[in-house]
């Protein structure tokens, strides 16, 4: 299938590579299908492109590389709903908000959890954690 992106043009991708969100991303209730796009090898960030909405692209990053202390337990409910069999199936990304060079934040409170095997995904909320929705990428708290 072809996923059209305003940012990247047409992306040719097999249907098996498309992630199905089992709950919509907060604020975007009508979109369930997304693809992960890596632009250049070596980039630590990737893009989450909505299928069917060319203008909607998020910048995402693997939080564990950037924030070595970051951790959370995936609730059993989500493991079941994402059909997670083993930890190797799971990939975690967080969404970045890039406002300016001095204002880039990561949403550590609501990570994206992907099952790379079944291609199910969801944005979860770590309600009882102290992680911020706007964690500064430069380290100073915001």
């Amino acid at each position: 299938m072809i996923v059209t992106s305003t940012r990247f043009g047409d992306i040719e991708i097999s249907q098996q590579q498309v992630y199905q969100f089992i709950e919509p991303l907060f604020g975007f209730p009508e979109l369930r299908e997304f693809v992960l796009v890596s632009q250049e090898s070596g980039d630590i960030f990737e893009y989450l492109q909505a299928a069917g909405e060319p203008d909607l692209t998020f910048i995402v990053i693997d939080p564990f590389g950037l924030f070595p202390d970051y951790s959370f337990d995936l609730k059993d409910t989500w493991k079941e709903r994402l059909a997670v069999d083993s930890a190797e199936d799971v990939e975690v990304k967080v969404i970045l908000t890039v406002r300016s060079q001095s204002d880039i934040t990561a949403n550590l409170k609501a990570p994206l959890v992907f099952n790379t095997r079944t291609k199910h995904a969801v944005q979860i909320v770590l309600e009882n954690s102290s992680y911020s929705i706007q964690h500064s990428l430069l380290g100073e708290g915001k």
């Binding site: 940012r7 709950e23 991303l25 907060f26 604020g27 975007f28 632009q39 630590i44 960030f45 909607l56 692209t57 998020f58 910048i59 950037l66 409910t77 079941e80 709903r81 969404i95 970045l96 908000t97 890039v98 406002r99 300016s100 060079q101 880039i104 949403n107 409170k109 609501a110 944005q123 909320v125 309600e127 929705i133 706007q134 990428l137 430069l138 380290g139």
Partner: protein
Amino acid sequence: MLVLSRNKGEKIVINNDIVLTVLEVSGDHVRIGIDAPSQVTVYREEIYKALQEQNRSAAAIQENAQQLLNKVLEKRNKK
């Protein structure tokens, strides 16, 4: 909006399988218990709204976001 009065300990049943229980009332503060099937997501409204807002801001990616990120990550690595 449907408005129901409940006393402490009383419940409200929604859709056969969602049960809200008034656990505790003290002044303006109310504790509510929620029993719901696991596929039902429940959030405090302020968190829910903040997350919607944050995702919408994140989706408004600037053209030069990638350059900005690279600069910042370079700086970070030097630290």
